[in-house]
Symmetry: D3
Subunit: 251 residues, 6 copies
């Protein structure tokens, strides 16, 4: 196990990144052979496998309503973290954190997918974290959109649907506040030291699908929030450019 680095010095990020600089990103499509849409996404040292499964059914509350559903589940391998965490399947339940994250991923995708155009299909996305170095929920959302988009391409090619139900790109990034200053795309060391953590989910047209800002030690001002949104917006447009290289819907 690698040593944790020395305390964070505001102004110089441990990685040497500029305050508004993303970590290095890798996006590998078709990572798993079986899934209708499969992505590996790496953001710095955070690695997530996102698999989208196309099911020809919908949850009970939507039966017979002529529309589809998009949902997500999230998990971490027990040793995705510095020290081993208990396996949720063995503990017999998903933690509150896990449920919170998987609900967020599902909502983020549904905000840009036309459920009527999906027909009575469900796109079920599984985000499983192989290695966690901060930002797993954001990486999951960015990867999940790609997995869903690949699954939609599969559905179109196989005539399961006739029209692209995806209305927009969507990606996510975190911004932290340290000493009142914003820094983009926190790694684990930064995340554990910042005063506030703001996760932003934004579309290709620059609109907010979701924002979750949490004070962790120090409450923050509306001005600081707006600075964070500015950084997030620029980071997300970079991520969407990378998504476009994998799936280009020309919209």
């Amino acid at each position: 196990m690698s040593e944790l680095p020395a305390p964070y010095n505001v102004g110089t990020r441990p990685s040497g990144r500029a305050p508004d600089q993303l970590r290095k990103i890798k996006m590998l499509p078709e990572y798993i052979s079986y899934a209708e849409g499969s992505m590996f996404i790496q953001v710095g040292n955070t690695q997530v496998v996102c698999n989208a499964s196309v099911l020809d059914s919908v949850p009970p509350f939507l039966k017979g309503k002529g529309q589809g559903w998009v949902t997500a589940e999230y998990g971490m391998l027990p040793r995705a973290t510095h020290t081993r965490s208990a396996r949720e399947a063995a503990r017999g339940k998903q933690s509150g954190r896990t449920q919170e994250i998987q609900r967020l991923i599902g909502r983020s995708l549904r905000s840009v997918i036309n459920l009527e155009a999906l027909g009575e299909h469900t796109i079920h996305i599984d985000c499983d974290v192989l290695q966690a170095d901060g930002g797993t929920r954001c990486a999951s959302i960015t990867g999940a959109w790609l997995a869903a988009a690949l699954a939609v391409q599969h559905m179109l090619e196989n005539n399961l649907i006739t029209k692209n139900p995806i209305k927009e790109y969507v990606a996510a990034v975190s911004v932290g506040l340290i000493g009142g200053e914003a820094i983009l795309d926190l790694d684990y060391q930064e995340d554990s030291q910042c005063d506030a953590d703001i996760n932003v989910v934004m579309t290709g047209s620059g609109k907010l699908a979701e924002i979750q800002g949490t004070a962790e030690g120090r409450c923050f001002t509306v001005e600081q929030l707006n600075k964070a949104l500015e950084y997030a917006s620029s980071g997300i447009q970079e991520l969407i450019e990378l998504q476009r290289q994998i799936v280009d819907f020309a919209n």
Copy 2:
């Protein structure tokens, strides 16, 4: 069961309230005799009992660290809603929504409480919704702060602690976006029809402890978010004035 009213007409709120107008608020302290801090809070037709228990122990991860903890649990009576929901104790687990809300309440309180000044005590807050007409998480936070403050008074009076660990008031309110316009403090009917739902937790000094904004049908702009924050800020200062009539820490 009362009939649900006719579809929402943007511009005139069903209740006739102005866009930035809170619902009628009732706050009753010492609602339950046994709890160290007990509040009943009513916001419109939403009714929540908030009880704060003082425990002389801390969770395992804090043992021996010389600091305290503040945590919360949330529940709804099965018939708090228009139609009966299954009892979580009978289903054998808390829903993802429940866990998300109780984690939010706990974080919101911890953002304004000095855990070191608590000593090795836990303030455990239970928020139980008797009747739900929208905004239960915000009413819970506003009431939970009061219950915690009453419990802190009890601790000071009984010499369990020597110094007030509460740094600030905190209260919460929701803002919705309908047709691009913001409206403050959504009731259930408004909540189920709005394009986006933004929950804001703010302190007496006007800082954000938490913000959670979610598109429900239509993504939103940073400008709309800022308009929502403006409404939220004014609503929360009203709520804090009411809190101050129950507990006045003169800070």
Copy 3:
């Protein structure tokens, strides 16, 4: 938390009540707006919310048999008691005590309701204890009958049924034995000190729907049981008089 009073002195009840005297009772109908039948019942310091929901379905074992069902669930807010109890929803299961009580409430109501006359509807009653000072199961039964009766009125008014399926009033009270003497309607302090605890559920015509007598330290004679039944019978007729002021079926 208020101090527990000094040890119980047989002959003089802590409250000064006569041996066969009920605590002060409050019954408030229409406590919650949404439930088809809703009651708040207070017996001394014990407070219970009883909500009856009318469902247009029956449990699987009754499907297609042309009859209805009446069932109950019971819960206590975590801080209904002197010290906080763990929330059953968080623990992931209902205790044996909870299940025992909710089964008792359901049986007591079914003993006076004609299930055929209900049609294929279920009356599902939720009894939730806000504050517990002894006798919560008895207060729940007395309140649950009222909630059910209000729900039946709602069903009659809405033509869901054409004939009143309720055959009799039903109410419940506890009797304790201390030093061989009976005392009616135990509060928590008395309950924790008595030799035996006898819960009696009786109808308006003075018949037993249920009797549960338990030695807690000292076994008891048939004569003592009969004395307890005498006290219970008179207490229950008082309770039924109060029920009649809320719902008068003239039978």
Copy 4:
């Protein structure tokens, strides 16, 4: 699977038994080799294995209080009944009925055992029903007392305790009411047809340890209850005579 017999004709019992006649009883001690006290008890066609284990620990709430504990668990083999019931271990929880019965068995034994004289030991009794033809809870109590008494003999012989902690014999029997008439010791066919079911737990000195009477279709009078108690009392003294042939404490 044997056919269920024709409907019950009041006055003549299917078995030809007199109204106050017990079924045939078999009690076999030392049924299982390993348990400190082990009994097989058969009442008519109902067969229960009762094993008492002596543990040298007490539950957490009794640690260090210098007293012991007696508790019980109850189960039925899945095919103890006419049609197979789901295995509780596979369903992942014990039913409300199971919990109710095992709590009753434990209370019944504790009513005649001096817990201080047990020292810091637990007698843990397991009652497992091999075949169920009505009256399994009563057979379990009667057998459990014997298993506990054998375990106490083992403890005395092994000097784990110096004084017999058992104060009295205890046994149980059911009485049913059909058409207003009492009949003793119901088998399954009678049980499913009676108007009320009264389970009585009584000591060697004729005192009540527990009484549970439940209307099943028709509420009953105090006079009928007393008739049932008369039958129960005589049946229980017969059972205690049989217990005395296995364990004779001369008290």
Copy 5:
């Protein structure tokens, strides 16, 4: 509780049995009245009740496929062992060992039963261990085959099926390796001391339905495995001769 005997001396078995000698076997059919097939099987001091229930349904994955299913569940009474084990129903889940064993029993039976010839029926077998002295899984398989065969006879007699779906006898035995030498049919004392434990499930025609060999301390050679198979084969043919005395299908 009987004392555990002195350490095992290779060459002389504690019981004085020859290395290839089975323990004493008892097989009692029609042990429980209600089950369509019911067996009590005793192998040395190991005692198992095996009940086969005939259900006129199949699991969801076989619905409408015109074939049947055979499955098994396994359990131990809490005091089947030298010291009490926690009741699985109370712990809320079956252990990995339990699930492993019940899956093995089900597979073993299905290997000799023609599921098509069963029609859309399930034979559900429950193996419950009353007393465990080693070899419970093998005794369960041998007894379960008999219970299933009795249930098949019941089905044939009641015209639920027209043709015997059982293709072969099947029985099971364990072989241990101690100091490199094989010994047949381990009791608990031997089992806890051997280097390897090999469970063999074999048919009347001498073929393997299942083999599970596990090193417990010392890995073993293919030659040792073959010696174990030789012992197992002869032991199993003895067991099948005993099965034939209960059910003789003349095949």
Copy 6:
């Protein structure tokens, strides 16, 4: 989702492999940065991540006995298979199959590790299947040994132990029987069509740590088992050669 290939033709394997030929193997050490030992193993299209965590504690039953423990957990990503399987963490329990496999992995490793030489440490291995094309339990064992060996190197380098506790290499492979003929290292298509499936765990010195043979449709002879063992033995020595290239303990 790729189409499943046409039915299997005995004699020519779908892959064109010889009957005793392994699939292509890839073994990548240090796959995850945080684990003390981390391996990625690929066998054909089956991909498993094996992470070994070194914990400085032992399970309760070993506390204070001066020895260590080795255990394993197993899981599959929901979309590791052709169609999505439910996530075990969401279902709230591990399947019987999962538990069977993780117990097998743990036993296999313990058969070649000297637990005394580990000191009071636990090596906890997590095997997570990214993609499943048959043979996941065997690939997990082969990879788990490597992960454990890397963790042991870490322990030696960090002076947590002074002596290598690993006594032997261990690896595993499956052999199937189709039409009476053995074929080595089944892929999913072969696995679902074979008559019997034999999993063999063998050490570097050619001894059996575990053998599990199961008839799936057709029982098998001892001769066929021995043929399978011959193929398995040669395959496992190949696997161990590959292991040696990653970790060479020179024994």
